[in-house]
Each structure stands twice: as structure tokens, then as C-alpha cells.
Symmetry: C2
Subunit: 521 residues, 2 copies
């Protein structure tokens, strides 16, 4: 037992009854709390305590009380009932009996894709729009008869809306690796009946897209009218166009990129690290116990910082404190802090922590460059034997399952060569002035995106976005033009149009919705 922690316990117990997040704004509790803060004991008490009295009162930590209290509640629940379910509501499910070989050599022996759809598929089956989600969003992009809760793009989808359900059959899937009904780390591995947890294999955007296209096969959709997505969905939309150019008529990529850059990786890295450092994460094996809700809360708070912009918060929160009559505190104090705290609280039990790790990592790994593809194709070739092994064990490998993936491989143009291990670059190598927005799109990326040379594409970026900065969408557009694509529409919403940063795609019906509507026609 840690002596320091033992020492602090009586203190926290003393303060707990009057200081928790829920009572923070109640005048009565505050009066009590202020009393403690000011420590005005009776004269008799004062005399008795004089020796040990500190110069100043101890601070209280209502934000930690709240976390500890939730742990206790969850602990009671986990010993008495089922673990939380992460599904977002009613949806349809496509089950693939055939296995999926993943880019980095993992195998899903079989899998589910949970999805929702709106509008009607026409007789020619050529009016389907595949909508890709962001990291934490579910297939519930719009309300349905079965689930009337508004979706995350409720006002962007519908009759006469940006994606017009009078014209299009809109499909939105939950990605594999996620937790809303599609196979992910919280699913049971058919090989042993146990939850995958961190025995789930490393995933890529392309793996998610291949799984989606099996659903399209199942629905009899040979060619999409459009592939549409924002944020992570903007990556997937480009991946769909690059992997299956013959099956995609149009691509819309909003606030996405063609390859994750190191700053975005860094921001996701810190989220994964705080989550993995939560003891309750237990290296991924928490499904029968208390989930790492504190780590998830922290991860979401960090993510929220990357989703919005400074100028927006300047206007919205400024330097206002949640309760200006109280003295400053180390727990949330400024309004911006209570906003972040609330964002973390809302989310910490809404999404499977392992899904966050795998899907976030898949985003980091995204790179449409030719070098990367060449390497991945090589890795895939090396792992084909895993499918054969499954076939011997009785799994059927028809054209619609594993074998089909092999046919879509783009064979490397040059033999694969092992890259040298690179030492850490020295700061002296950085050249001021060569900022990414001024650099030519690399030939490697132009080669990798060549399959999209004849697909009309809308690329949309937002100047106030720090997670997917607008130079990345300029890079996508310029790269596509270099492939010879003459139908590239690039729109950048400046700070005079939106201060909502990365989240603009969720909020801007005119700038984002209007552009999508114009493009889809």
C-alpha cells in the first residue's frame, strides 16, 4: 500500500460530502464548502488544532470525487449485471460467413456489418450513396422508422436535403473495429468464443472499406452513385475511390486527407496513451469489469480540443468562470473547462475503449501513397496462406469473400525493398519556409491516387480545422489534378465562413451541405 495515498484518504473523505461535481453550483453546498475553505473552527477547536493547523486550507477535488463515485457505481453493476452495450439503436445486419484478410496480416474468420439506409434503391441499382462515418459516429446518420432519435447528419439527409432521399438510396455502415454492431474488439472471436479485446488484429481504412463493399455485393450494388464522407469518412471515401475505382462514380471527401500527418498522429497518440494508462483498461481485457471510464473521459476531452477552434471558444466562452463567486480551483473552473469536462462525461461510457484505440490507430496508418500500397500488397501476398488455412478448416472462400480481395490487389510496379531504419531526425534538418501548403504534392501520392484519375471528386476543407488542416485538402485536390483528373472541385471555407474547426462538417448546412448538394446534382 502506498503510504502517501493512505495519508491522503482521511482528507478526501472529509471533503467529499460537500464537494462533488453535481453540487458545484448549489449555493448551500458552496456555503458549506467555503466554510471548509476558510477553516473557521470554534475557539476550543482552534486551540486543539493549533499545532497541526496549516497556513492555508487544503483544496477540494470534486472532479476526482465524481470519477471515484462512477467507478464504485460501475463496480456494483459489473458484479451484478451485464456490461454496457454500445449499440446505437436498431439497425440492419449483414453477416459475412467468409473471412476477411486484413492489410497487416490479421484475419476475421467471419464478421458482421451493421448498417442503416434511407431512400429507395432504384431498379438499375445505380442511385446508391455510401456514407462513411467519423471515428466515433454510428450508422445512425438520420432518424429511421425504427429509431427516431435524430442522427448525426439529420439535417443533411432527406427529401430535398444535401443528400436527397428522393433521388438517392443512402447507406451508412458502422465500421469494423467499432462497437455499434459491426465486428470489433468487443465481439466474440469465433475461434475460441472469447471477446477479441486486444487480440483483435490491427486494422486499416482500406480494411473497413473492403468490408463495406462486401455489403454492397450483398445488396446487389455494383457501382455507387457516390462515396461520401467527412473526417475519418473523408479518408475512407478516398480509399473507396482508390481501391474500387470501377465501382465509384463520384467521391466527396470533407475535412479528410490522403495521408495522416504527424501532428494529427500526435494528437491521437496522446488520446490513446491516456486511455491505455487507465488501470481499468487492463491491456484491453476489461469487458467483465469496470471499463476505463476515466481514461475515456480524458481522451474525449483531448479530442474535443482538436475538434474545435480557438477563435470559436474565444467568442463562446472567453474567460468566463463557471461560478465567479468561488475561488479558483484545480478541478474544472473556467467555463471552457466545464465544457470539456461535460464532453468527456457524456462520452465516457458511450463508446468501447478498445474500438477507440483500433479505429484511431487505423487513421494514423492511412496513407494513399504508392510506396505504402506496394508494401501492403506485399504483406497481403505473404498472408494469403491464412485464408487457405481457413479454407482447409472448412471455411468457404468464394469469389465474394477472401479470394475476391486478392483479385483487387494492385501489383507492385517495382519490387518491394526493405526500408532502412531511420534515426530520429535532428531539429537542424528543419527548413523554415518550406511549409506543406507550398510543397508540391509528392510523386508517390500522385502515383498512389492514380486510380481516381477519372472520378469526379469534391474536396472540401475548413481553414479553422487544426486536426485535418486545410493544407491537407489542398494537397488532396492538387494530387488528384496531377493524376490527370479534370473533375476536381476544391472548396475551402475560410474563417469568415466558419470558426467551428474540424466539427464544421456537423454544423454548417450551407457551406458543407450546400456544396455537397451542388456536387451530387
Amino acid at each position: 500500500m502506498n503510504p502517501a495515498r493512505t495519508a491522503s484518504r482521511p482528507l478526501s473523505r472529509l471533503l467529499r460530502p460537500v464537494s462533488n461535481a453535481r453540487t458545484a453550483f448549489r449555493p448551500v453546498a458552496w456555503q458549506l464548502n467555503r466554510h471548509l475553505h476558510e477553516q473557521k473552527p470554534s475557539k476550543a477547536q482552534a486551540a486543539a488544532q493549533a499545532v497541526a493547523e496549516s497556513s492555508n486550507p487544503a483544496l477540494s477535488f470534486p472532479c476526482l470525487d465524481a470519477v471515484e463515485s462512477r467507478s464504485q457505481t460501475l463496480s456494483r453493476r459489473s458484479s451484478s449485471g451485464p456490461e454496457p452495450s454500445y449499440t446505437s439503436g436498431k439497425h440492419q445486419t449483414f453477416h459475412s460467413d467468409g473471412p476477411l484478410l486484413l492489410d497487416w496480416g490479421g484475419i476475421l474468420p467471419e464478421y458482421d456489418i451493421a448498417y442503416e439506409a434511407w431512400g429507395t434503391l432504384n431498379d438499375q441499382r445505380d442511385n446508391a450513396v455510401l456514407l462513411h462515418t467519423g471515428l466515433s459516429a454510428s450508422s445512425h446518420a438520420h432518424s429511421t422508422a425504427e429509431n427516431q432519435k435524430p442522427g448525426w447528419w439529420e439535417k443533411f439527409i432527406g427529401s430535398g436535403r444535401a443528400i436527397d432521399t428522393d433521388k438517392y438510396f443512402v447507406i451508412c455502415t458502422n465500421v469494423i473495429g467499432g462497437c455499434y454492431g459491426s465486428t470489433g474488439p468487443s465481439s466474440k472471436d469465433p475461434a475460441n468464443g472469447q471477446r477479441y479485446a486486444t487480440r483483435f488484429p490491427v486494422l486499416t481504412m482500406e480494411d473497413m472499406v473492403r468490408a463495406q463493399f462486401r455489403l454492397l455485393d450483398h445488396l446487389g450494388i455494383q457501382k455507387l452513385y457516390a462515396s461520401v464522407g467527412a473526417s475519418m469518412g473523408g479518408m475512407q471515401s478516398l480509399a473507396a475511390g482508390t481501391l474500387f475505382p470501377e465501382r465509384v462514380s463520384r467521391v466527396v471527401s470533407i475535412s479528410g486527407c490522403a495521408r495522416s500527418h504527424p501532428y494529427s498522429i500526435a494528437m491521437r497518440h496522446t488520446q490513446r496513451q491516456v486511455l491505455m494508462m487507465d488501470h481499468n483498461w487492463a491491456r484491453g481485457f476489461y469487458y467483465d469489469g469496470v471499463p476505463p471510464h476515466a481514461g475515456m473521459k480524458l481522451a474525449r476531452e483531448i479530442a474535443t480540443v482538436t475538434y474545435r477552434s480557438g477563435p470559436e471558444w474565444e467568442q463562446r466562452f472567453g474567460r468566463r468562470r463557471a461560478d465567479p463567486s468561488r475561488p479558483p480551483a484545480l478541478c474544472p473552473d473556467f467555463l471552457i473547462e466545464t465544457y470539456l469536462d461535460h464532453a468527456g462525461e457524456k462520452w465516457c461510457l458511450e463508446y468501447d475503449p478498445n474500438s477507440l484505440l483500433y479505429v484511431s490507430k487505423a487513421m494514423d496508418l492511412f496513407d494513399l501513397g504508392q510506396d505504402h500500397r506496394t508494401r501492403i500488397n506485399k504483406v497481403r501476398e505473404e498472408n494469403v496462406h491464412k485464408l487457405e488455412k481457413l479454407a482447409k478448416s472448412g471455411k468457404s472462400l468464394d469469389a465474394a469473400t477472401g479470394a475476391a480481395d486478392l483479385c483487387t490487389l494492385t501489383l507492385p510496379e517495382t519490387p518491394y525493398q526493405e526500408q532502412e531504419t531511420t534515426a530520429e531526425a535532428s531539429p537542424g534538418n528543419v527548413t523554415p519556409g518550406k511549409i506543406p501548403s507550398q510543397i508540391e504534392p509528392p510523386a508517390d501520392l500522385v502515383a498512389g491516387m492514380k486510380p481516381m484519375a477519372s472520378i469526379p471528386t469534391l474536396v472540401l476543407g475548413v481553414a479553422s480545422d487544426i486536426l485535418f488542416p486545410s493544407w491537407q485538402q489542398r494537397e488532396v485536390a492538387e494530387t488528384l489534378r496531377r493524376t490527370g483528373n479534370r473533375n476536381v472541385t476544391h472548396i475551402e471555407l475560410g474563417e469568415e465562413k466558419s470558426l467551428f474547426g474540424h466539427d464544421t462538417f456537423l454544423l454548417d448546412l450551407e457551406g458543407v451541405g450546400g456544396s455537397v448538394k451542388d456536387f451530387l446534382g
Copy 2:
């Protein structure tokens, strides 16, 4: 006991011998590790394990192994020897017997200021330059005879350098609240002989500056040639000019601000939260046990993201992986991740966690606006009785201690009025187009900075800085001009000059050092 964690333990034990941060790049360890990854047991083993074998191998977590290993080492140390000392080396110490009344009502009954100095104080005692540090930096700005380790501004200070020790007597202090020898949370409270921990009172930039000026009194320096600082030091430099205008001849404020804006508060908030969530933090009472090294590591990783810029990392790290021959991992994998991990590792035992909380919070609270000052002056008046109480108990309150502070109070121009509690602003209130750089400096800030109306000031900003964005330095310069100050020099280093973001002040001898040299003359 959490059943999930129990279940995962055997797995982590199995992997630990071959997977920790130190062996990550060793070929032999990697071969062993790969063996585990691919799980190729003997035929007999395979038969025995067939029922339980998962579809894919479990991932390993060398980054968590490293943290657990450090906890064990620290636990052994804390039970057998003294806790880590955070002092930065040899320094001089000024001890104030007199108490310090802090802005938010806290009291330091007595305190130390640890400092270092270079150059020679002239007979007129008018060539002193007070250098303010950043959050985590110590007084060791330059090597000394007693401590020859290079300082954090080694090349900026010296004969003929940006701050020329042939001309100036340069003093750099460790802030109160910190851990490098000046009184902070790890110091012992004279009232009860115990470490303050989180019984340390909430601090402000102004409190730190008042303590520094007591040192100047002690040294017989009535008026500074210049007050110079970057980052947090840039805030303090402005605070010095505002609090003691008659004692400061020139102000240099680099990558600082006149009031912390919500985005910076948000970024510091996440750092404090990850630290406080570390169980070892124990609400601040960890001094006899294992310090919250994991939380400190995470906090530093997040801080590092805010200190640099995306374009720099694009050039320096790009998408290179630490070891491209290995499969992707959830622990640090891309070079940028190993860089962040290393930054966290280096720092996690170098600075007192409680100091980080208090000093970081003091930065959030910084606001040179008149409304804030009026309120604080009111709070200070209400707490003067605490000094009187100490005087009765035998403490001497001479002109150089508590009483002096009262004399420097700017009395409120209007009576204090309690502010209304503000409800959370709705997102609908945000007006696109009104970005801070285009907004006039608020009258409140102009009024608050009025004391600096006749102090020549250099304000320097860096366009690639996201923590103290360059519109904040434009705000400082414009505000000063509105006070009637005709000697404001504002320099902004564009992206063509520096991609180093907030850290530019540590690296750019020409852009930063040259500008300071020109200004000091």
C-alpha cells in the same frame, strides 16, 4: 479486485521479458517478440491449445511495461531512501522572513526565492535585467561557475550576446510555486512542519512577480533596466510592468499574452486532468511515496504537442515509423510518437507534479484587464487581516514585506460588484467572421495596462505558435498603443522565419535573440 485485470495479468507477465521500451529496437528482442506475435507453438502444444487459440495473436504493450517497471523501481526507492529532489543545481537563495499575501487570499508566512545571476551590478544599480522563466524552466538560464551545465538560454546570454553580460547584470529567479528551490508545494509549511502539497494556496503571475521584487529590494535594485521573459515569462514581464511601472525601464514580452484565452486554458486543463487522474498523485500527497510519474509523462506529451508546430513535424518526422520492419502497434510506433514518448520519459521525474498544477493554473488565471484587477484588489483588501493576524503572532511586517504590498494596490476606480453567474453559452452565439485578430482590443484591457503607457516595450510573436497564437501578441501591442504608449515595437516571425511554434524562443538566436539585442541597445 477487478476480475478483468486479474485475467489480463498472466498475459502481461508472459510478454514482459521481451517487450519493454528499452529493448524495442534490439534485433534479438524483436526476433523473440515476433515469435510470440506469430504464435508458432510446437505441434504438441498446438494440439493442446487448439480449443483456446484465438484467430489473431494478442498485441504487446512495451510502453505499459516500461511504466510499470518504473513504478516498481520508484516504490523500492521510496521505501528505502529519500524522495527525488527537484532542484536544478547550485543557486543563491533569498529568504523572506516576512509573509506574502497572495492575490486569491492565500498566505506564505515566509518564503525562499532561489536565483542565479550573471554579469555585474554597476554602482548606480541601474543595469539589472530581470529574466522570467517559462513554466518548467529553472533559474539556470546560463551556465555559472558553480553549475557549468548549459542553461536554457545559454546562447542568448553572455558577452556580446542578446542579453550582454558586459553591460547588464542578469538575474533569473525560480518562481514561487515551482520546485527549483523557491517555496512551492513541495516545501514545508512553517505552520505545521509538513509539506504544503495541495494545502499550498492558489497563485497568480502577479504573486510570483511580487515575490521577485522583494528579492530586488534585498539586492538594492530600485529600478530594472529591463524585465524580459518568454512564454509564461512573457506574461510575468507584462505583469511586472503593470504592477511596478515605476521600477521597470523597459519590457520585453516574447510569445506571451495579456490574458490567457480559452484554447490555451483548454490545453493546460487536459494536462492537469491527466496528472490528477494518476492514482499516484493521491490528491497531492505523494511526497513519501511513488510520484505520479505516468501522469507527468502524459502531461508532458500533451504539452509537447502544444509547444511545436505541424509543419515542423511534417518536415522532421513525416510519416516515418520507428522501425518499419515491425507490424504497427498501439504503443509508440511512428517516429513522432517515440519523440513524444521520449519527451515525457525525460521529464516525468524532473519536475514536481504539484508545482505543475499550481503554476499551470496561475497561467490560466492571468488577466491584465481592469475588471479582473478591480476584483483582485477587493479580495486582497478582504484578506489583509491575515497579515495582521500573523503580525500578532510575532511575524514582523515591515515596509519590505506584507505592508509594502498594500501600498502598491491600485484602488478600484468603481465599486466592486458581484458578477452574475453565466450560463453555458450556446453554439448559436458564435459569429463567423469575428476572429480575435480582427477585434479591437477591449477597453477593459487598455484600462488594465494603462500603467505601462510610458514603458518602452518589445512584443514578439511567432505565427506558427498554437499555444500563444500570434494574434495574442498583436493584441498586447495594440492594447499598449491604445494606452498612449508610443514606444511599442511589435515583431511577428512568420512561417517563413520559424516553424518551431511556441518553442521558437528557445531556438531562434537570430529572430528572437537579435530582436532582443536590438531593443535593449
